[in-house]
């Protein structure tokens, strides 16, 4: 009980930026993430300890639910529009395969089989499960996907809102395309990506929420099969082709010394 009140108090503190940060739209979101992290890391503030952090994480399941429910209501409201945009919604899931293009970079940086785990997908929970299931817990592939998972957990939300903000200013794409792309298969990154998109296209809130929510749902249920049947074999194939050509031995050795 005390812990809950404390968390509430903490959020109360974080609430303040919303009032005076209307101009820079990503700020409230980023603010809250960083403040949340800072409150955890600032050891002098004793009441946010590891246990509370774990409870916050457990409670998150419920809060994700609320977020998903809100998105689902928007989706239901716009269901006819979603059916009209069906082809785009489904095909953009294929766009997530773009991560495989990162494989050569991973190889050039000296990663070996880790790179297969790293670049087959965005490395969120379902993807981690797929990789661990396929290669085993102690395999280099799993090490790779765990690394992406942890780094994505820490910087993913902040980084994606940065990417979205830049894309919105520099890429002349369809508003719906931005909305659909924000469903990357992670609730927190989805949330962080929607914020700037909503702000960039005022008056289209319902459509953007509908597409973003539906696309994330698709990434969650269909995306995993794309990873298993398409992304994973493709990544491995590309690895077999590229590794002998641009793979580097020395750095892997060094990595193992770490």
């Amino acid at each position: 009980m005390l812990i809950l009140v404390v968390i509430a108090e903490l959020i109360g503190t974080i609430k303040i930026p919303i009032t005076h940060d209307v101009a820079i739209t990503i700020m409230p979101l980023i603010y809250t993430i960083i403040l949340g992290l800072a409150f955890y890391l600032a050891k002098p503030i004793k009441w946010i300890k590891r246990k509370q952090a774990r409870i916050a994480e457990g409670a998150m399941m419920l809060f994700i639910g609320v977020l998903i429910a809100k998105l689902a209501v928007s989706s239901g409201q716009s269901i006819t529009l979603i059916f009209e945009m069906g082809p785009a919604l489904i095909l953009q899931e294929i766009g997530h395969l773009a991560t495989i293009l990162v494989l050569p970079i991973a190889l050039l940086l000296g990663f070996k089989r880790e790179s297969i785990g790293m670049t087959n997908s965005i490395g969120r929970e379902p993807n981690v499960a797929v990789v661990v299931d396929k290669f085993g817990f102690n395999s280099p592939e799993s090490r790779g996907v765990f690394a992406i998972f942890i780094i994505g957990t820490v910087i993913g939300t902040i980084f994606i809102s940065f990417v979205v903000t830049l894309s919105l200013s520099f890429l002349p794409l369809h508003p719906y395309a931005f909305a659909m792309a924000s469903g990357v298969g992670s609730a927190s990154m989805n949330a962080a990506a929607i914020g700037p998109t909503l702000a960039a296209f005022p008056g289209m809130e319902t459509q953007i929420e509908a597409f973003a929510g539906f696309s994330n749902l698709l990434s969650f249920c269909v995306g995993i099969y794309i990873v298993i049947f398409l992304a994973m074999p493709l990544t491995e194939k590309l690895y077999d082709i590229l590794e002998p050509k641009i793979g580097k031995d020395s750095i892997t050795q060094k990595k193992e010394d770490d």
Binding site: I64, V66, I68, L71, G95, V128, G156
Partner: protein
């Protein structure tokens, strides 16, 4: 999302009463933010949050107690979509109240929790090299841009006006 569901199992967030309490606290914080940031009436948005919370509770409950291996995310999404379906008797009332809750208000509070949760991975994060960070950043950017560009091309090809 599996991580969050797993996380809930080894944490003392059990029992429907705890869930309701947590959701109530979350709702109140969201509604406060909602009224400060977007000046929506507090009463209406509270009802909106109550509706969303109920859908969530039902979804989480179904995940635990129904004998199917389906994530609560899916239950919640399906319920939300069906309840808001145009023509459903529930849709008008639902849409009125839920539209009083801005998505951004929910997101802001939610991401604060994400931030706290992130702290847990901080030490593991520090142990990973800068190269892995580079790869992660490119991976995230490419998955987003990849699907944005594909979606854009399909939308243009199928002639959807901007």
């Amino acid at each position: 999302m599996a991580e969050i569901i797993d996380g809930s199992e080894n944490v003392s967030v059990q029992g429907i009463l705890n869930w309701i309490l947590l959701l109530a606290i979350f709702s109140i914080i969201t509604v406060i933010g909602n009224s400060i940031g977007f000046s929506h009436p507090i009463g209406d948005s509270l009802i909106g949050m109550a509706i969303l919370s109920l859908i969530t509770l039902a979804g989480v409950w179904m995940e635990r107690y129904l004998p199917f291996n389906i994530s609560s995310i899916i239950y919640i999404s399906v319920m939300g979509i069906v309840l808001a379906f145009p023509g459903m008797p529930t849709s008008d009332i639902l849409l009125y109240y839920v539209s009083k809750v801005e998505l951004l208000s929910i997101v802001t509070v939610f991401l604060a929790y994400v931030g706290i949760g992130m702290g847990k991975s901080w030490n593991e994060f520090k142990a990973l090299g800068g190269k892995a960070v580079i790869i992660t950043v490119i991976v995230i950017a490419s998955t987003y841009l990849g699907s944005a560009i594909v979606a854009h091309c399909v939308l243009v090809m199928t002639g959807v006006p901007a």
